[in-house]
Every structure is written in C-alpha cells, then in structure tokens.
C-alpha cells in the first residue's frame, strides 16, 4: 500500500478521501488555490501545497502544478476525486509518465469511454441496450422517415456535435419531421458549425439508474448494485438512493443492469471504480447512457448498503491488490438515501449563494452520515461548485431512511448564506416522492404542483421577535447597536427584496 497520497481536489470529496487515507495510515497531501487556504480539506490534511489563483483553470485544473506538488511531497499516488481532472485521460497519462499512480482507470479506458458516441458504439458492440436511434446523420429525409417509423414516435433530434440542448427537437408525429430536421440542423450549424443531426427514441419520464462497478488489475470485475438518481435540477442530481424504488419492485432488474454494466466494463478493459449510467422507462426497459470513470458524488449510499468503503477499495486496486470479494459475496442490506446540501436559493432558480457561513449546526444521531466540506466562519468561494455537504441516512427500509433524512435536515442549520435545506424537506414530504414515483422530470413537475408556502405560525413570529429583542438589548449593553450604524432595516429589506 502507498505511504503518501496527494488529493487533487477540494471541498467535501477531498475531506472524504483524506479521512479514508488517515484510516489506513497513509499520509495525505492536499492542494489548494488562493481561495482555499483556510478550507477544511487543507486543515485536515497532513501536508498541503498551494497551486495557484482561485479560478480552477489556474489551480485545480493545472496538471503541471499538481504533478510538481506530488513530486515535491513525495506522493506515490494521486486521487483525483470527481470533477476537475478526474476524467482527464491526459492527466492519467501524465501521472503514469511521471511514475505516479493515478487512482482510477487507465488513460486508455478513460479515452474509450470518455466520448459519448464512442462509449455508445462500444456498449452496443458489447451487447448492452442503448437508446434506439440512428448511427449516422439524418440528411436524407426518406431514410429519416423510415428510421423514425421504425424507432416509433415521439423521437428526438440531437445535434451530432451537440450539447446544452442546442439543435435538439422533439418530434411527435411524421408530419413534423421534415421541418424539425431543417430547424434543428440550421440551429446546430449556427451553434457548432456542424449541421448533422441524429434521431433517437424519446424515453418518456425516464428514471436515472446507475450501476457501481469495480475491477482490479487481474480481470476480476464486480458490480455493487444500483443507485437511483432521478431527482435532478439543472441536470444535477440532488437526492440519490440505494436500492432504487423501481429495482426494489422488480428485483430481477439489478442483475440485468449489473450484467449489462459489466459487459461494457469488460469490453473497455476497465479497472478501478466506475459507474455505468442508464435511463429506465416504466415498462422495464433500460438503456445505456454513459460511463463515469471515477468515484461518484453519491457513492456513500452504496457504501452504507453494501458495507464496503469504496475509497479504500480504490486505493487497494490502485496499489495492485486483487478485489477482496467476489460477486457472490456482495449483499445489500437496508436502505440509504443522500441529499446534496448546496449554497443556492431554490426560490430564485437555484441561483448560487456563496458567502460566509455565520453559523452552522450539523446533524448527527442514529443512522446519519454527513460528508461536509465546510465549517462555521468559512467563506464559500464563488469560483466553485455550490455543494456544501452530502447528508446521508440509513434505515432498514426506505421509509425509515426518509424519516431520518427529514429529522437530520430539521437539525441542520446554516446561517449567513442561502441553502436548499428547506426545499429538500419539502420534496421529502411530497406524496409522489414518498410513493417512489420518480423520474428525471420530477423536480420540474414538483415545482409546478408545489403549493405556496404557508405563513409562519404566530408563535414562531413571537419567538423570533423575542430573540431579536434580547439580541438588541445585549448589543446595546455592549455598545454595539448595529441599527444605529447605518440606515433602516426596512429600507435594507426593501433593497433585499429587489434581489429576490
């Protein structure tokens, strides 16, 4: 096993990895930007190295600086976490060249699975189900018609060079097809200088279900079951769970999806940890989406249900150990659910809310795990992801896990910045959510049916007023009445409301 490992990341995931390293007595080396000198991961690490200014292209994405830091501190391996350089084949290759172990799959595997179209072709060849669609551009309208008929309406037109929804069109019937191809193609041409569009089947209200896989250097590959991550806002997950409520109702699906994921991993010669993502419809079909060649944000739900520490597993595999268990030895017990606590304002299109955390009370108690990257007094930088912490609960069944998550969120208090805590509590209270009726459109549907918030009970108003008065009188005695410093709070509140 390694003696020294550099963590090329920040925030909660850097803290998570540093904890895993300390548990097995490996020295941890943190890296940090100007904005993160006082960050929790730097405070917790055994060693730390400054790598540049706050914007990530100048620091956390600078592979040269990170490799320099690794050499300076004598790191034998680098853990990239998620995001930043974690899925960068060039970084994996540069590590190998420098004689440092990249804790993840080989550069070659990352390349094979990194491009969506290459991964789709590989999945198809390996015999895994992919979303039915055309492999070539829909330029000939006759062929496009025949293909769309074969796939079945509604279909989706997608730009070949695409992303961000540009050049994307939903086509409900054949008489819309020709003009939709024309529109999508010209939009794609303008956006990407490439007017090619593909036809794909529309999966109505799909669930997002992913399979955790792990492989060693000796060809052993296993899956550790699924996670359902259908709850997303702005294409980012906010609540994840294991098992998936859908798989719990159809237990044979875990094996079917697990086998499909392993076929793809085998075809790619995959090792270390990875996640194969699928879309599932409500009729028992599932389709390959993409592979994430790294540790996933939501990995704790799998850890709580299987009992295996996935970061320890990554370290063992990278150090050349064989998988410590076989597929048969993996079992799933109970239910785990995670929610992402973010510095953002759900009442204002999830607008980020960086700033200083004036006060913080973190939840604990039975069945609660908190992977946090912040502390009271920490200023959440505006340069990075708004994720503050992942709150995960476990119980014998889904209902207990939800009750514990609700209870833990009620203990969670963050003052000074906006968070999505109240919003998460509303979702956990929703009858559709409780029934396990999830889809990637859940949050949009929920926002549409959501009831306006009721006025606070009068006794809460009175309690707030009393606390404010006590605070005011204490401040007066100390001679620090902020109210007399500047302006009226009414005026300031008026200004504040303009920002909402």
């Amino acid at each position: 096993m390694f003696g020294r490992v550099l963590v090329a990341n920040r925030g909660e995931i850097a803290v998570r990895i540093i904890r895993a390293l300390r548990e097995i007595k490996i020295r941890s080396i943190a890296v940090f930007s100007d904005a993160d000198r006082g960050a929790l991961h730097v405070r917790l690490a055994d060693e730390a190295e400054h790598i540049g200014p706050a914007p990530s292209p100048d620091s956390y994405l600078r592979l040269d600086r990170i490799l320099e830091a690794a050499k300076k501190h004598g790191a034998e391996a680098i853990h990239p976490g998620y995001g930043f350089l974690s899925e960068n084949a060039g970084f994996a290759a540069a590590c190998a060249e420098a004689g440092i172990v990249f804790i993840g799959p080989s550069a070659e595997s990352i390349r094979r699975l990194g491009s969506k179209t290459a991964a789709r072709t590989l999945a198809k060849q390996a015999g895994a189900p992919v979303v039915p669609g055309s492999e070539e551009a829909a330029t000939n309208i006759e062929r496009a018609r025949a293909l769309a008929r074969e796939i079945g309406y509604p279909v989706l037109l997608k730009a070949a060079a695409g992303g961000g929804g540009k050049g994307m069109r939903r086509v409900n019937a054949e008489n819309e097809l020709e003009s939709a191809i024309r529109d999508a193609s010209s939009e794609a041409e303008r956006a990407f200088q490439n007017g090619e569009v593909y036809i794909e089947k529309v999966i109505e209200k799909p669930r997002h279900i992913e399979i955790q896989i792990a492989g060693d250097h000796y060809g052993n590959l296993v899956h550790l079951g699924e996670r359902e991550c259908s709850l997303q806002r702005r294409h980012q997950k906010i609540i994840e769970e294991c098992p998936s409520p859908w798989v719990a109702r159809h237990p044979e699906m875990r094996e079917a999806m697990g086998e499909a994921a392993l076929k793809i991993a085998r075809a790619a010669g995959y090792d270390n940890l990875g996640t194969v993502e699928f879309l599932a419809d409500n009729r028992g079909n599932f389709y390959f989406l993409e592979v994430n060649t790294r540790l996933q944000v939501e990995h704790p739900v799998t850890e709580l249900v299987t009992g295996h520490d996935l970061v320890h597993l990554q370290l063992r595999i990278a150090a050349g150990e064989a998988l410590p268990f076989t597929q048969k030895e993996i079992s799933w017990r109970g239910w785990a659910m995670e929610c992402r606590v973010c510095a953002e304002d759900p009442e204002n299109q999830f607008f980020p809310s960086p700033g200083k955390i004036a006060q913080l009370r973190e939840p604990s108690g039975p069945g609660v795990r908190l992977d946090s990257g912040v502390y009271p007094g920490w200023t959440v930088p505006l340069e990075y992801d708004p994720l503050l912490a992942k709150l995960v609960t476990r119980g014998p069944d889904r209902n207990t896990a939800i009750q514990r998550l609700q209870r833990a969120l009620s203990e969670y208090a963050v003052a000074g910045i906006q968070t999505n805590i109240a919003f998460l509590r509303e979702i956990l209270d929703d009858s559709e959510f409780l029934a396990g009726n999830l889809s990637t459109e859940f949050v949009a549907d929920f926002l549409a049916r959501r009831k306006p918030r009721t006025a606070p009970p009068p006794e809460l108003d009175s309690a707030v007023a009393l606390a404010a008065l006590a605070h005011y009188q204490t401040a007066r005695q100390r001679g620090t009445v902020a109210a007399e410093v500047e302006g009226s709070r009414w005026l300031n509140e008026g200004r504040g409301q303009l920002l909402r």
Binding site: E459, L460, D461, V464, H471, A483, R489
Partner: protein, 150 residues
Amino acid sequence: MKWQVAVDDRTIEIDSGQLASVTEVEPGVYAVLLDGASFEIRLTETSQGLSAEAGGRRFTVEVRDPRDTSRGFRGSVGSGRQNVAAPIPGKVVRVLVKVGDVVDAGQGLVVVEAMKMQNEMKAARPGRVIEIRAHAGDTVAAGDTLAVLE
C-alpha cells in the same frame, strides 16, 4: 415597556417582561420557551440588517426602540425609488428594458451570469425605469446598481 419588532412584513408587540423566556445558548443562538413550546432562533447581522433563521425559515427582523423617538420604521417596500442591484459578482448578459419603460412587479430587467448560470434581476413592484447603469458585457460586483426604477 412595550416594544415593536418587525418580522418580515409583520409587526410584533412585545412586553420586555417576556424576555425572561429567552436565553442565549451560543453566540447568536437564542432558545425561546413560549407557553411551554421550545424554539431555537439563529440571528445574524447581514448587510441587509438582522436576519433570523428558525424552523427551516428565514426572516428579516428590525427592532424599534421605544426610547428613541427620533427613529421609527423609516421607508418601506411599498413606495419610492427602487435600486435593482447585482446579488453576487457576475457578467451582464442582456438588458431587457430601456429608460422610460413601465414595468410590472416581477418583470425581468437585466440578465446577469454568475457561476455559469444566468439569472434575471426583477422589479420588486411596478414602476418606471429612470436609469440603466448596466450594459451587456459589463462585469459587475455584488451590490452594484444595475437599474433604477421609480
């Protein structure tokens, strides 16, 4: 003594005798017992005044000192000029109105991008645009005025 405390847009009357039910348990954290019910209130001084967090809700609070007759609740959200400001640093993507436009409450005025997300700065109440300080492409700091309405 009778005190008045504004909690959001509500005015709460308090007798200073009731203060016996409040205790500061941590700096800025107050435990309140009202008729046997227990509350925990977190107070933070912000640039926009005193902010309270309790029961998963957020409140804006202002205490009116009855001994200070020179001051009362001044201003209000209901009238006068409104300055529309950038909540965090970002870049102006688009200006949606021009000087002289009459706007409704909630109407978007300026689109600002920050942390790769676009956000519309809206009018809090109806008014007429009397000044626009933001231009597309401008970099703005938190608190910079983007537009002024009356």
